[in-house]
């Protein structure tokens, strides 16, 4: 009996030995695999950024923010080259193309139009999508896709307040023309709403409002009747207005506006524009990519939208240290 027990024990110890050796071998293999995989860090997430007219200088700060965030987050970021205004259909094509190219997430400036929302909702079911600059037109109550943008309403309102400050709160008898790039964007609508709310009971007379592709912007502005003040609610219309004013085609109208390109600053600098409200585009870019990166890396965490700050710049404070920095991001 005892011998049998002992033989059993010996067999046990042999089994144990083989088991331990096998476990060690497994550990070695697992570690080697981990080591090998760890060295292949080429599989960085890729985020595609789709904005309209991507080479335009108004995106400089935004792109700089994206670039910085990409470095900080160690993520691959690609700004898709686009030209001109895109319809929802065009945008969809670009998005599809990017998804085919292996984008893990998208940062999209929604195209103008009513049908954009539906299209983007579809896309966001497939991969993480973050909107910048503007919400889509539609039901405001349930923003399904997170947006990172400036507080558009507040910017419009700030602009109105700056105007009122200039005229001591009395705009009685002043005529105002409003220029926007497109009416079919939630952002533009909010800005206009904020602006109009700000001007309530000021006695100002908003004589006209134009929108459209400002490739020929100058001309379309020139064609408008003479007003005392031209208010441009986005960068493209502001530069168009600035350009027109610089050539004295606005019949002496003063230009106010919202803008974020170095051109806009330039017009302020040379005295063509009176006041500029500048959204923090660097933050829009930086935050959007950071949020998306976190979203991609953490399960069950969806990116949240947020608003960024904006700054009022006038000629007097154009070269303060803080504003120099804003200009710095625009000049990248």
């Amino acid at each position: 009996m005892r011998i049998r027990q002992r033989i059993g024990k010996m067999k046990n110890s042999k089994k144990m030995f083989i088991l331990i050796e096998a476990a060690l071998a497994m550990a070695v293999i697992i570690l080697a695999v981990i080591m090998f995989l760890g060295n292949n860090v080429n599989d960085r997430e890729r985020v595609s950024v789709i904005v309209q007219n991507s080479d335009d200088s108004q995106w400089a700060a935004f792109k700089y923010g994206l670039k910085m965030a990409a470095e900080d987050q160690k993520i691959e970021m690609f700004v898709v080259g686009t030209e001109g205004a895109m319809s929802a259909e065009d945008e969809k094509n670009v998005i599809e193309q990017e998804i085919d190219n292996g984008a893990d997430a998208l940062i999209i400036q929604p195209a103008a139009g009513e049908d954009t929302e539906e299209m983007l909702k579809d896309i966001s079911q497939r991969i993480p999508v973050l909107l910048v600059e503007s919400e889509t037109l539609g039901d405001k109550e349930s923003p399904e896709i997170p947006v990172i943008q400036a507080d558009n309403y507040s910017m419009g309102r700030t602009l109105a307040e700056e105007l009122l400050k200039e005229y001591d709160g009395n705009l009685e008898g002043k005529t105002i023309g409003i220029a926007v790039e497109t009416e079919a964007l939630e952002a533009t609508r909010s800005r206009r709403e904020g602006f109009m709310d700000g001007l309530e009971e000021s006695g100002a007379d908003v004589r006209w409002s134009v929108s459209g592709a400002f490739g020929q912007g100058r001309k379309s502005l020139e064609a408008q009747p003479t007003v005392d003040l031209v208010v441009a609610l986005d960068d493209r219309s502001l530069t168009a207005a600035g350009e027109a004013a610089a050539k004295n085609d606005l019949h002496g109208a003063l230009v106010y506006g919202i803008g974020n390109s170095s051109e806009a600053v330039y017009y302020l600098d040379i005295g063509v524009a009176e006041c500029l409200v500048v959204p923090d585009e660097f933050s829009v870019g930086y935050q959007s990519l950071t949020r998306l990166a976190e979203n991609l890396r953490r399960f069950f965490k969806s990116a949240e939208g947020s608003t960024v700050t904006h700054t009022v710049i006038r000629k007097e404070n154009l070269f303060t240290e803080e504003n120099q920095e804003i200009i710095y991001t625009m000049s990248q």
């Binding site: 002992r6 024990k9 110890s13 060690l24 570690l31 330039y266 600098d269 923090d280 120099q324």
Partner: protein, 622 residues
């Protein structure tokens, strides 16, 4: 609770020698491997750390030198513009010459220069290169570089990077420059007046240098700040000013050139400070500790894998060694276990000298045990057999018949007294023969028995021989095996004196000799040759021709079974002279205790066996 754990630990204790060895080896080797691994890792990480710091330092020194070169070149430009262009010429008359000189300078260094400008002390533009239109009201006197220059006229001043706010070149762009400004003495319409010479360097010249050293992706970075800690270049400049991240630049600017350890922003980091001469700018390299560990991850894995492999190998080696050491012991143990289980394998002998010796010892002791077992069995058999025989001899029908016939004769011949004597002798004889079933009796009883027997025999043989007892009374109270004299006497009568007519003599003596009792039966009979006498004690197969049939061999065996081989019978005989049979017994006083011991077995005998053995061993050794 504690006891429970201890008990559990005790249970874990390995039982086999092999597992003990294996575990001991493994624990030792694994701990050694661990220590080696940790030391190796620490050593490697230390040297890597030093290497990283060293590389960074070298790189920073290089960049610092480049920066210095760059700044020196700017200063040289400023010097040349001042001493060769401004000082030499009058602004009213020789403005073309001045412009030409400045143009030459600008063209030679246009890669790094944004502009060279001269203002008078009121801030109006005197000359500029390249020639572009000045902004409407740049407010020159309010600008930082102008104020600095005017504050400390004897020095040159490097500004921090800022937007150049002087000219409008129509590109709608803003340029980042670092301004080098100084107060100059200039001549205008023959009059000497003060002015400010401004050399605006392109910021990109410096930022490129910095970007270049910041291109490593391993986590360390370098930034440049002025002596008050204001950032000139930082790879995350905007994030810092937006408050997304923070930098310890204000503190670092206070430090001298060296390597520092600091804890900032929730992590430990090494900070290398390098001062750029003349400007007082600090080039700061920051290496977060995570950079080291990042590079060390692979090494860590590698070392762990190495250790694991070594452990695997060591375990194999340990196993081989432990098996080799323990195998002979195990095999020895196996054979012993098998032996104990009742099988009779040969005891394993092998392995090292100690184990072989152990094997030999065990084997020998087992052999001896076997031998002893056999002897015991033999003795038991013998004892039973001889006692039966002895008993049988007492109720030898022939003897009884003879005795009873003698009594009958006596009664018939009306020799009543003799008949009574005869019967009483017979009674004594049987009383002692039976002795309540005892084997050991006193010498006195044995002699009494012999006497009774001889008395009966004498009557039967009609006093054909004489019997004398000459026994030292000192021997009476010692032990003896019962019924040992009777067979000897029977022999003496049958073979010794029966053939002699009336002259037969049988003499029974007893004496104490040292530790021995020697009883002797001496007859003057026919005797025998020595060879025959020897045979009497060895040949148990001898057929008794006469008498009870109880041979002397039987007597000898019974004595030896009880008292040991040292005792027994000695026969001395001469043909025609007579025979003497000596009975040797140990002098054991007759007590109840001794009797019991002797009857139960071999106490004395065993002791003697042992003595003999030790003696033998001593002999062997000698």
């Amino acid at each position: 609770m504690k006891d429970k754990y201890i008990a559990r630990l005790e249970k874990l204790k390995p039982e086999g020698i092999q597992s003990t060895l294996m575990i001991a080896f493994s624990v030792i080797s694994i701990s050694i491997m661990m220590v080696i691994g940790i030391v190796m890792y620490m050593w490697f990480s230390m040297s890597t750390r030093q290497e990283v710091v060293h590389t960074s330092r070298t790189m920073m020194e290089q960049t610092g030198e480049n920066l210095e070169d760059y700044l020196i070149r700017m200063r040289q430009i400023s010097d040349v513009a001042y001493y060769n262009v401004v000082k030499e010429n009058d602004f009213s008359g020789q403005s073309e010459k001045i412009q030409e000189g400045m143009n030459l300078l600008y063209e030679a260094n246009r890669d790094n220069l944004r502009s060279i400008v001269i203002y008078n002390n009121y801030g109006s533009l005197l000359a500029a290169e390249p020639i572009v239109s000045q902004k409407e009201d740049p407010n020159v006197t309010k600008q930082e570089w102008f104020i600095q220059a005017m504050d400390e006229m004897e020095n040159m001043h490097f500004s921090t990077p800022h937007i150049q706010n002087l000219f409008d070149d129509g590109t709608q762009r803003y340029y980042w420059v670092i301004s080098l400004s100084r107060v100059v003495e200039l001549t205008n319409r023959g009059e000497s007046q003060l002015g400010v010479l401004l050399v605006d360097m392109d910021y990109s010249g410096i930022s490129q240098m910095m970007t270049q050293i910041n291109s490593t992706s391993s986590g360390q970075y370098y930034y440049l700040c002025d002596s008050s800690g204001k950032i000139i270049y930082h790879p995350k400049q905007i994030q810092i000013s937006d408050g997304i991240i923070s930098e310890n630049n204000k503190v670092a600017a206070q430090w001298d050139d060296n390597v520092y350890d600091e804890y900032f922003g929730g992590e430990h980091r090494k900070v290398i400070v390098n001062t750029v001469s003349y400007t007082g700018w600090k080039l700061v390299g920051v290496i977060p500790y995570s950079t080291f560990t990042h590079g060390m991850a692979d090494l860590r894995y590698f070392i762990i894998i190495l250790i694991l492999l070594m452990v695997m190998m060591l375990m194999v080696i340990n196993r081989v060694i432990s098996v080799r050491i323990s195998r002979p012991i195990l095999r020895l143990n196996d054979s012993v276990v098998e032996y104990e289980a009742g099988e009779k394998p040969s005891i394993y002998i092998g392995g090292s000298q100690e184990i072989r010796h152990l094997g030999y010892s065990i084997q020998k002791s087992y052999e001896q045990i076997d031998l002893l077992m056999k002897e015991i069995v033999w003795e038991q058999n013998e004892r039973r057999k001889s006692e039966l025989e002895a008993l049988q001899s007492q109720i030898n029908p022939h003897f009884l018949y003879n005795a009873l016939e003698s009594i009958t004769w006596m009664v018939e011949g009306e020799k009543n007294d003799e008949a009574v004597f005869m019967i009483s002798q017979l009674a004594k004889l049987f009383r002692i023969s039976l002795s309540k079933g005892r084997t050991v009796i006193t010498v006195r009883d044995e002699l009494q028995h012999a006497e009774s027997y001889m008395n009966i025999q004498k009557i039967r043989y009609k006093n054909a021989f004489s019997v004398t007892f000459d026994v030292d009374p000192a021997v009476y109270s010692y032990c003896t095996v019962k019924l040992i004299l009777q067979p000897i006497l029977e022999n003496a009568i049958n073979y010794g004196v029966s053939g002699l007519d009336d002259s037969g003599e049988i003499k029974i003596t007893g004496k104490l000799e040292g530790e021995r009792i020697i009883l002797a039966v001496e007859d003057n009979g026919i005797g025998m040759p020595k060879e025959e006498a020897d045979l009497l004690l060895t040949d148990s197969q001898r057929v008794q021709k006469k008498g009870s049939g109880v041979g002397l061999v039987n007597v000898k065996n019974r004595i030896q079974i009880l008292f040991g081989k040292a005792y027994g019978l000695v026969i001395e005989s001469e043909p025609d002279e007579g025979t003497t049979v000596f009975v040797h017994l140990p002098a054991v006083p007759y007590t109840e205790e001794n009797r019991t011991i002797l009857e139960q077995g071999r106490a004395i005998f065993a002791e003697e066996e042992n003595e003999n053995k030790t003696k033998n061993r001593k002999d062997e050794k000698q």
